[in-house]
Chain length 248, copies 2
Amino acid sequence: MAVSLFLFEEHWARLERSLREIRITGVDMDRLRRRMMETLQAGPFREAMVYIQITRGAGATRAHPFPTKAAPLELLWAQELINPYEEDRRHGIGVFLQPDLRWGRCDIKSTNLLANVLAHQAAREAGCGEAVFYLEDGTITEASHSSFFGVLDGLIRTTPNNPGILPGCTRGLVFQLAARLRLSIEERSLHRDDLPRISELFVTGTTSEVCPVVRVDGKPIADGKPGPVVRRLQEAYREVVAKFLQGH
Amino acid sequence: MAVSLFLFEEHWARLERSLREIRITGVDMDRLRRRMMETLQAGPFREAMVYIQITRGAGATRAHPFPTKAAPLELLWAQELINPYEEDRRHGIGVFLQPDLRWGRCDIKSTNLLANVLAHQAAREAGCGEAVFYLEDGTITEASHSSFFGVLDGLIRTTPNNPGILPGCTRGLVFQLAARLRLSIEERSLHRDDLPRISELFVTGTTSEVCPVVRVDGKPIADGKPGPVVRRLQEAYREVVAKFLQGH
C-alpha cells in the first residue's frame, strides 16, 4: 500500500531546519524517512499521524555543554489520527489571552514548551480551547499550539514569520487557499486594540486545521459565530485534502 | 552515618516553589526527602551531589493540557561530587556575552533550558567558561548556569531577584558572606556599558561556588587577574563549608 503524507515537504524541511538551529548533527534523514514509511506501512492505519522527536543523545554527565560522543536519539511513532477538533471547527472556540513569556526562538520546533503548556492549561481552565499570546506592547503573536489569524477591514492578517513564532505548515497553506479564493491576506501583526473591530478570527494547526475563534476572554467576536471567510477557508482546506487523498 | 546537605533548606524551598509555579501537584516531599537520604546513606560517598528531576508524569496522548490522571515521575540520583571548577576558581574564567533569549520565568528551576544550553555551548566554543546574558537594552541578567556579580566603585552588584533570573542558592549565600566581611553589596543590575569601569567580576553556582571572571569577550577585566573581593569571598565560602562539615 502506498503511503503519502499531507504537507510532508513542509514538515520535513521544518524538522531539518530545527535540527540545524539546535545544532543536532549526525541524523541520517533518509534513514529516518525510510523508517517512518516502514512504520506507517506496517500499521493497520486508515489515516495516521506521525510524531518524531530527536534529542542530542545521552551525555556522560548532566552538564550544559553538548555531549561530545553522544549519538542523537530518534523517537518516532505513528497512530491512528485522533481528531478531537471536529466540534471546535464546526462551532468555533473561545480563546484566552496570555502574556507571551516564551523564549526568543519560537521559530524552532522544540520540546522547550513549558510556557506554552502553562498558558494552554490556563486557557482550558478558563473554558477556552486555546491560549493566544500577546507581547508587552499588546501585539498578538500566535496561539499556544496554533497560528493566529484575524480579518480586519476585509483583509486577513497574521503575524509575519519571525523568531517569535513557529512557521506553521498549515499557516503556509492558508496563504495558498486565500490566493485560490482571491481573498486578501497580509503578514501583518494584529494588536489587542484591534479586537473590537475584528470581524473574524481563526487559528490553524496540523490537527486543528482551520478552526474559527468566536470569543476572546469571554467576549464574542462580531456576532459570536464563525464568519464567511473562515468557512470558505475550511471548505477550500477540505478540498485540498480530498484532492490529495484522491491523487494517492 | 549521618548525612547532611549544604544549603539544603534553600534548595528544597526552591524545588517546592518551582513545582508550585509549574503546577506539578501530588509530590510527597517528605517521602522524596527520605528517599534522598536513604540513597545518600546507601552509597559509599565521600562528598556527594544529588540531582532531582520531577515531571508531571506520563499523559495518555501528546497534548498541551495537563494529563488528568498522571502521577508525577520522580527521578533522583546521587553521585560522588565531580568538581571540574577547581582550576577555574584559582585562575578565573573568560565569559562570552550572549543575548538573553530565555523565557520570562527563569526564576523557575526547570528543564526548559535550550536557550541556556545553546548559549553555553557557544561560549565554550569561543574558549570561555560561561555565557553571560544581556537584555536588548544592554542590561546584564545572569550566566547560563550561574549568578553574575560585579564590583563597581567598590560596591558588589548583582541583578535583583525577578522573574528573569534564577534565585541562586549560592547567590543568597554571597549576601551573607559579604555581610560577614563588611563588604558593600547591592541588588542592582549591571549594564554592558559598565564593563570598562568594573574592577572585578565573578559568577556563583552550586558546583562552581564562587568563581572569578577575568575576561569578557576576550578583553581582560581590570588587570585580568582575580581581584581581592572575589578572593575574600572564596575564602569565606570555604570557611562556611568547613564549619558546616565540622558541625556534622
